[in-house]
Symmetry: D2
Subunit: 333 residues, 4 copies
């Protein structure tokens, strides 16, 4: 029985992670930390019967675990020391932030406007997307768990890049996300009265912090517009590509054939599309496509996932399984 | 006091129309027909204090009114005879269906796969978009009320066409509509359990019945993906255009200057976008834009309207005001 | 491996039942019928990966199964012959309708205003509430699966009756149900536009068809007001009782102690209440209570369940497990 | 043209108030204060075209206005000095908090557990319910605007008390409120993820701060359970009363006849009930009732209002109209 620790158990991703881990047949939770809820139990914070005690970061016993998850808010100053300390203690780390997702410190600095806080860790980190980097994840000391938005673009686009089907390398990704993507922190953006019965775009164009991951993993040039849905879970992205003239649906299915043995990816028949409810509360990543004008190579792809599972905590468990040599789908079916 | 008649008062658009007309200072309702509710009053069908009696089509007294609205479902066989009869009686007509929106019978046949049922009416009809065809609407005998989706594309794109700003004439329109767009008929698509807490794409590509209007009015080539939001009212469209290299925000604002005196159109400052709640229950059409890569001419436009008001019944009242020589905004502020 | 058949697989309860059965470790589906979807597979109707074929009633092979579920709409004329035929063939039956829930044909006739269609079956049927009738269910040939609303009243009230705590035997039950309680049939009541962002009462007073079950099982006199929530799953009932003067919280907890070994019932500490999200998608029945004026015996109880699981299909599986001699919670945890 | 000032313009009630006042034909806004938004305009805070500037409390020029509205959070320490200062300057005051709603300082202290902060003001204040206290409001210097929950109980119950129809003076009020009742402050209770697709009870029994108003105005003994709906606007209350045996629907309608000239109250025919959507965005208060057992005097009443309009800001404008000698419904139709 492997043992794991969780730093940051009371955000949405930490909570989802714990829900998966308590049911996992081959893993036990060694500790779970929570800044504002020390001394409480997880069931005091969330409506759940899961009775995990919450401790302060200082009380977490690193020696007691094999692997840690860091589920802290983006830009927490504590993150780098926590990760360094764990790695030095010989523990493996899966980090949920966007700190270690880009391989290149220069790329990071150019996109963020400030130097990377720990470039030496950056070069060691593996991007935690099993469908693309399964072998590297197995051996990794530090895995950067994927962003939820980027996944909806990377998984449908990467096979088409591999199959060399692109002519125009500029791709439009129009994404629509449920509110849980914004986390559990209080903000007007997640206030019921500001979100319910409305719909809006934000960070339109090329300014979203997750753009870097998409471009790194696909090598494409992405125009990205995220939108906020009055729905709790799930992201659906509508993707507009221009492929080589004459690219047929069969050629596209042939490219997606690289996913044929993937346990969590479903490619629908031509002209069928996923809906959010097909993926909510599941690990399933579903994509469908429709050629628009074959002679012009125009195609529309629709992809969908549950942002808290395949887009965050479930993805982290999939990586953990690989790292610990456990069956990849354990605790996820 | 002008008098008007409504054919088809118990669909969502007919109901919204009546709500506007009963408050209109210069118009009275002569009759309102309803196939399935003859002998009832509107207040028996809708939760309202509006006490309009409902009569059968045969009981409607055409002589009693100056203008009629036909708010019948698309493809109702009764429509053509009703419109012909009214025109022959010297009455003016505003039709809510998509029967008379295309000018060209060949274009209609090519897009629909069947001949137009009354080509002689088609050539006389005016597309009911005051911002583009105000003068023609004033004189028109037959006005084809605009579709709700098309408006979200035509109004933002037409000024850019007028200003000759396009290079690539292919435009991507990613639209998200509330459920009321599907009307009040019962279907699984509008069942709470199939719509609530989910999100989906439908009719993706170049197959939607409203594509023709968009292309006719703008002269552009449109890739259009509609989506269904778990929201009642409103449409928000995210539009991706490629303009001439170097097109600046100022040049775009200059183009939109044609709307400066329009009573219902608001162009936001660069980088600001409308949300659905800004337009719900109003006649306002709001648009905003963001240049993405100025050197490449890439720009994203977001537009929003209330599909039942500016997108349907309010638009019809605006046209009626023009046709009757009344102040254009009467009953709409 | 026991084998079961389902009549009526395409309503919400039939669908939920099949989702439970395909994951059940000790049961296999022999057949699933669907009037309007013969020749299709369940995955053609519902967004699911469950690939059960759907057959006509006539094609269902009764000999192939040990037990059948009848998930037909209330008042289907086919029901009685189907049940009789199955019983005569020595098969056991769990029926989802409200046909067999009252023990007494006279009570049925008085409440429904018409004679019971098969009084001889009525007297043999067992009310399918394991917490009250576990032993009888084990042996039953015909089980009447419980109504969802009644459960929210019966389970909190029955222990207080057993403990002889009532003075005033009139009890007020104010219930609020999600839309899925109305089934998958199309009606304006379940149309998104008529349900979303609103709230209403219906069948107020003593007229609801489910009142008989509540009164039969508790022996109390119930005033019942159901309401429709803009939520998909779950029922929450607020119950107002007048107990013997001086009844303390301890005495109430003592009464609820009869549920201490029940796998699916949770009684919260005094002053704590369930929320719908605590029970959605689960078999949990949660109740909490608050004394209001102890000297006057006034108390408020709040109970909640998922109407499709503990309130319908999960309950049926719990009964099936008892009837087949399987572990009671198999397939339900 | 009368002039008014608003203290606290950026909460939901302040915002709704301003929306009403800018359209009011006989009133102008002199100033609007906002602690956290000084120097901004209202349109910077809310999605609106209303361009009211926001000033600090110190900048508000009391001399410039005839009447002030205080829309501050409950228990703001600034409230008492602000009110005293305005009254001393000869200005009239409508306060939105629950500070001045009870007439009796002892009652206040007993219910709140602390002495009233300004008993001398308490005795001068008039409870701002026009239907009960129209004459007193006309003359009042200080009006305590009513609570939203209390109104849903007081208006249906008071006529029955006047008509002496009660035997059992204990009444059960089961209320369901939209989220806007909790205001615009950020709290987990109004976080989309904690409110959406769920339903819960809170402050059950006799502990809610609004109980005092209900009991003061009706003289009845109220058992009150508020619940939180996943809806934005509106409160619907289901009220259970025991009247004199044999009380007929006609006798109840006779009692409600006191409201026959009220501009904002509708009493539905026996057996009809309001829904939230009937009252949302309106000043209408709608009630319906259903006798349950006439011989036992049991009756169920359902009432509904928009908590931000008739339940708060619209009610304040109705009081203002009375105080300023303007037509009572001005700006409210």
């Amino acid at each position: 029985m492997a043992r794991v620790g969780i730093y940051g158990a009371t955000g949405y991703t930490g909570y989802e992670l714990i829900k998966l881990l308590v049911r996992h047949p081959q893993v036990e939770i060694g500790f779970a930390t929570a800044r504002s809820a020390v001394g409480k139990r997880l069931s005091d914070i969330f409506p759940t019967l899961i009775d995990t005690p919450l401790v302060a970061v200082e009380e977490a016993n690193l020696q007691d675990v094999d692997l840690i998850f860091t589920c802290l808010p983006h830009n927490t100053p504590d993150l780098i020391p926590l990760v360094q300390q764990a790695l030095e203690a010989g523990k493996r780390v899966i980090d949920f932030s966007d700190t270690f997702r880009l391989h290149d410190a220069d790329d990071y600095e150019r996109r963020r406007g400030k130097p990377h806080p720990a470039p030496e860790l950056l070069s060691a980190a593996v991007y935690g997307l099993p469908e693309l980097h399964r072998t590297a994840i197995r051996e990794a000391r530090l895995v950067a768990n994927t962003g939820c938005y980027p996944l909806t673009a990377i998984l449908p686009l990467w096979p088409l890049v591999q199959a060399d089907l692109f002519t125009d390398r500029t791709v439009i990704v129009d994404s629509k996300s449920g509110v849980s993507g914004a986390g559990r922190s209080l903000s007007l953006k997640t206030h019921f009265g500001e979100t319910h019965e409305t719909f809006s775009a934000y960070n339109v164009g090329r300014v979203h912090r997750h753009l870097g991951e998409m471009e790194q993993e696909t090598g494409l040039h992405i125009i990205f517009s995220p939108h906020l849905l009055p729905v709790y879970r799930g992201i659906l992205s509508t993707i507009y590509v221009t492929l080589k003239p004459g690219t047929s649906p069969e050629m596209v299915h042939e490219a997606y054939n690289v996913f044929r043995d993937e346990p969590f990816i479903t490619v629908l028949p031509t002209g069928h599309f996923p809906e959010l409810r097909h993926v909510q509360q599941t690990m399933d990543f579903i994509l469908g496509f429709q050629p628009v004008e074959i002679e012009a190579g125009r195609m529309i792809i629709v992809s969908a996932l549950d942002n808290l599972l395949k887009g965050a905590s479930g993805q982290a468990v999939q990586c953990m399984n690989l790292m610990l040599g456990i069956e990849e789908t354990a605790g996820l079916k």
